[in-house]
Subunit: 300 residues, 2 copies
């Protein structure tokens, strides 16, 4: 990662800078917690390597301080701009990657996001998660199995998504519960529910992270998706999304959450077409998809 | 910087993680400002290398978010915890190093710190910067020359320091002006003033940066010092400190500001000893030091 700039720096100067790195690293030598020491010493090395590689100017350092100060100022109980920052730098997704190594044919993980809520309503198989959320109905069905193909009965599936206006229920500031629920897989591992056809939406972009995206020439939009968190005894918890094949945002998701294996076909259905559970949708078009979930074994 | 952990990661997994890095880097490819692109792409590479090297856990990522949120919460117009964080990670000092390469025999730079104030009082040669600040009088004298040894007349010297209780005037929350002033070098480049014998003090350690230092087993104390900022036409601005030889904190300054060349002998004087300018110190002991300043030429 050395740049042409770096190579013009004299050997004496490079040695002086390297000495400083070692001094700072050594200042963590006596941290009582071994893991804290390891993490902080690596952080120091990478932070200093960054400053040296780009030959960070004092004015740029000042701007970085001002940027982080602005991120802190806009963050409160309802908005977490540091998480957004981590998301748009791909740090959240890289952390997911590091902690969810591919395990045989197990379903891949992606970012958790800030919109999960505990204690979402329980629905029966075939129930509707939409609540008061507006949007086109979407039938989702599939199975939960382990990596050997055995059905996982009684797996808990948490599902949540934005409405057709691109907002999660918690973003409205009232107490509505919509577009979220939990259900359990049946004895054969199967599950099915009515959700909403996922639509794209922008992450909050009126703060410093929005300015970062603008300076980068990047869109704040996320590819359309529906969140899953699946837990079952003996299995690794799976946090993931499903994405919609054909969505034009798949290759520029603002938080880098898309994985090829998570892009599904969503079939389009006319209002006149019979639904899987004979439900009357009041003359609306609908969509459907199949998501077969494979859970990795829990870490030994 | 690879760890044993890293080496256990499969080649496929490593490739997947490396692909994500390239995807995030590429998301900045179209940033209109070339320098912004360079800085952000390097930041992304180093940030991801850190996450991968330490195999950052999701719980650790969460703690990092909470830590930065706390840094943001305590930061206001009077307290800049992000600067403190940069300081204790050596990032401030590395930025100083990168921007102030050694130039022949020129005096070395160190951190600016958060306590400089514009428009500090003007004093005459031999004047007193202490104001109402309490502490032992310290006579400081020297010359300002360029790197060829020619005197620099009319150089502006800003000097500032903490009082004997370890506080700068601006930390008291009243409107006092103490322990700071500016003066000009004479026709022969010489300068002299009365200050206070520098004393050690802790950086503010009741916030998240204090917790970081505690977890690292590090002291919040700064080695005793007196700040200088010296400006003159045709010369590179020098921001530096002088340190006191024998101070036991020299090898563990909390912000890594100490450089060997900036450690000076401070002579100790009995109350009965005659002062350089025959000033009556009211029966107090005093100290004295000599700091000859060499300014690098301004960048061409």
């Amino acid at each position: 990662m050395s740049t042409p700039t770096t190579r013009r720096v004299s050997a004496e100067q490079q040695a002086r800078e390297a000495d400083l790195v070692e001094t700072v690293v050594a200042s963590f030598d006596h941290a009582p917690d071994e893991r804290y020491r390891e993490v902080m010493q690596s952080l120091v090395r990478h932070l200093h390597a960054f400053i040296r590689d780009v030959r960070l100017t004092e004015a740029e350092w000042q701007r970085a301080v001002e940027f982080l100060t602005a991120v802190g100022r806009i963050t409160d109980d309802r908005r977490q701009e540091f998480v957004l920052l981590s998301d748009v730098l791909g740090a959240s997704m890289q952390t997911v990657a590091v902690n969810n190594e591919a395990s045989a044919n197990a379903t891949e993980a992606t970012v958790f996001g800030p919109f999960f809520v505990r204690d979402a309503p329980l629905i029966e198989q075939g129930g509707d998660i939409a609540g008061d959320g507006a949007g086109e109905p979407c039938w989702v069905e599939g199975t939960v199995t382990d990596t050997t193909g055995r059905p996982v009965a009684g797996a808990r599936l948490e599902v949540w998504e934005a409405d057709e206006d691109g907002f999660y229920d918690v973003q409205y500031g009232d107490d509505r519960v919509a577009g979220r629920a939990h259900l359990y897989s049946g004895p054969d591992g199967s599950y099915r529910f009515w959700g909403l056809t996922p639509t794209p939406y922008p992450i909050p972009d009126d703060g410093p992270v929005g300015s970062l995206l603008a300076a980068a020439g990047r869109s704040p939009y996320r590819a359309s998706h529906l969140h899953f968190m699946v837990t079952a005894p003996g299995c690794r918890t799976l946090v993931t999304h499903i994405f919609v094949r054909g969505d034009e945002l798949l290759d520029r998701d603002s938080v880098f959450g898309v994985k090829e294996s998570l892009i599904l076909d969503f079939a389009r259905h006319e209002a006149s077409e019979r639904t899987p559970d004979d439900r009357d949708l009041g003359g609306r078009t609908w969509s459907s998809t199949r998501f077969d979930i494979v859970l990795a074994p829990a870490a030994v």
